[in-house]
């Protein structure tokens, strides 16, 4: 994307009907380290790649528990993500207190989206620079949503956001038809495979990724390093054989990923 005279204010439309500040906010999401989510009928798995500034520092927390039945993975400005997580936790706990019942994730997601929309229509505000993958349960089962800085939200069977997420998306697109009836463990394995795609050859170990699970009868929790490493070890052997095929597929699909926003025509938020 290139600078232009309509991109200073979030409240300025371009002649093509775009709000550039909002699109720039979505760029910030693309720069963050990858986060993925996938769901079956009864479980949702969230995963993210841990990026640390240096070997000396710890990595940023990108997965947050919002309530026993809702969790969120973020990509982009982690500080904005933290603030939104606090808002979500507050909404959940207030609902629980008043109704002694868990807040349906579909309603939380709409409230979150409306909050993001406000920042796209006030000249003294800026859009949140974070994309959220919200995993949660409600009366109708397991759900995975993606909340955009633009204030849009979408429901997904599986999705990936952040840098090199296209590689993960390609993997998920190949496999998603099996997810609805997959077992919880298979779902976690698929999440790890998808994360591995975003690492582009780097070895997948439990220190570079975080996995969290929520499901019917299973409250949201982050899996501990040991368990994750065990699961990696269990399928890595099989993974060796799959390596060459995956690499070839990635070359072709990596290119359009960053360029999507810059092209003429449809603005990203309209999709």
């Amino acid at each position: 994307m290139f600078r232009n005279q309509y991109d200073t204010d979030v409240t300025t439309w371009s002649p093509a009907g775009r709000l550039f500040q909002v699109e720039y906010a979505m760029e910030a999401v693309k720069q963050g380290s990858a986060a993925i989510g996938l769901r079956s009928k009864t479980h949702i798995v969230l995963g993210c790649v841990n990026k640390a500034n240096s070997e000396l520092s710890s990595h940023q927390k990108k997965i947050f528990k919002v309530d026993d039945h809702i969790g969120v993975a973020i990509a982009g400005l982690t500080a904005d993500g933290r603030v939104l997580s606090r808002y979500m936790r507050n909404e959940c706990i207030n609902y629980s207190f008043t109704y002694e019942s868990p807040l349906p994730v579909g309603r939380l997601v709409v409230q979150l989206a409306d909050k993001a929309q406000v920042c796209t229509q006030r000249s003294w505000k800026r859009p949140y620079g974070v994309g959220l993958l919200v995993a949660g349960l409600d009366e109708s089962g397991a759900h995975l949503y993606y909340n955009c800085p633009s204030g849009n939200y979408f429901e997904y069977q599986a999705f990936a956001i952040g840098s090199r997420s296209q590689a993960a998306k390609t993997y998920l697109e190949r496999k998603f038809e099996n997810f609805t009836d997959a077992s919880r463990d298979d779902l976690v394995k698929d999440a790890l495979m998808a994360i591995r795609e975003t690492l582009q050859g780097e070895t997948l170990k439990s220190s570079v990724c975080t996995i969290a699970v929520v499901g019917v009868g299973e409250p949201f929790h982050i899996l501990d390093q040991g368990t994750v490493q065990q699961m990696i070890d269990a399928f890595e052997i099989v993974g060796e054989q799959e390596g060459p095929d995956a690499a070839a597929g990635q070359e072709a699909s990596a290119e359009p990923e960053q360029g999507a926003g810059a092209g003429e025509g449809v603005a990203p938020m309209d999709i």
């Binding site: 008043t98 019942s101 309603r107 409600d138 009366e139």
Partner: protein
């Protein structure tokens, strides 16, 4: 001489002038509500009387109303406060329906919402002068609970308000059991209502029985119970207790 008289803010509920702004006594009141769980759902009974002190002034007051798709609310106490509660719940259900998303507030959620409302009003010394019974069925789960004007709330297999607690609950404790049939449930409720009719002077012989199941809610047309006043003990009530009235 006025040494800096302490001034209340305009909306305060303290001080003599504010007394007209908050509920101190009830005026038009309903008497007991009795309810029990049975095989398919909840049965609830209440008479149709609205008393103005000791006068039985209004005789067609509906003290049980459906709430949303899954719940039934019965109230005793101040009728105008019951109407206010119905307005709160109407708004609550409206917003719930406006989400249009397949989720809906069930009886447990409504009961807890009412508990919060009643307790918060009590804390402001401006109570809604009611005892409420909330029953319903959602996803096969039966729910029956009660909230008082001071926010005391609990669930049970059978509940009652007011005089019902003293006269009906002992009968229910003896005779209620799991999986009552509809006919047995109605018979049991009528037994309770008959005792209340004999012994509660605010009760009138015109009642409704409401039923709520997974399918929905129905409320009977008003009817009367058969009573028998020729018991010999009624003929000379003071016989066994000289000086009583």
């Amino acid at each position: 001489m006025n040494f800096m008289a302490s001034k209340q803010p305009e909306n305060s509920l303290l001080g003599p002038e504010a007394d007209s702004q908050r509920t101190l006594y009830p005026y038009v009141t309903g008497t007991s509500v009795v309810a029990l769980k049975y095989k398919d759902g909840i049965l609830m009974a209440a008479d149709m009387g609205g008393s103005y002190g000791s006068t039985l002034r209004y005789k067609s007051v509906e003290r049980m109303k459906p709430i949303g798709k899954h719940s039934l609310l019965g109230a005793s106490g101040e009728i105008s406060d019951f109407q206010e509660i119905l307005r709160y719940l109407d708004e609550l259900i409206l917003y719930d329906n406006m989400w249009d998303d397949g989720n809906s507030l069930g009886p447990k959620e409504v009961h807890n919402y009412l508990t919060r409302v009643m307790y918060n009003r009590r804390n402001k010394f401006n109570p809604l002068w009611n005892s409420l019974v909330l029953g319903g069925v959602k996803n096969g789960q039966k729910y029956l609970g009660t909230v008082s004007m001071i926010g005391v709330n609990f669930e049970d297999n059978h509940v009652a308000t007011g005089f019902g607690n003293h006269l009906a609950r002992p009968i229910l404790r003896q005779e209620w059991h799991e999986n009552l049939s509809y006919e047995d449930g109605v018979r049991l409720l009528e037994k309770c209502m008959r005792v209340l009719l004999y012994r509660d002077r605010s009760a009138i012989n015109k009642l409704q029985i409401a039923k709520i199941t997974e399918e929905g809610m129905t409320i009977s047309q008003p009817y009367s119970l058969k009573t028998y006043w020729e018991f010999s003990a009624f003929a000379n009530p003071a016989q066994g207790a000289v000086g009583t009235w």
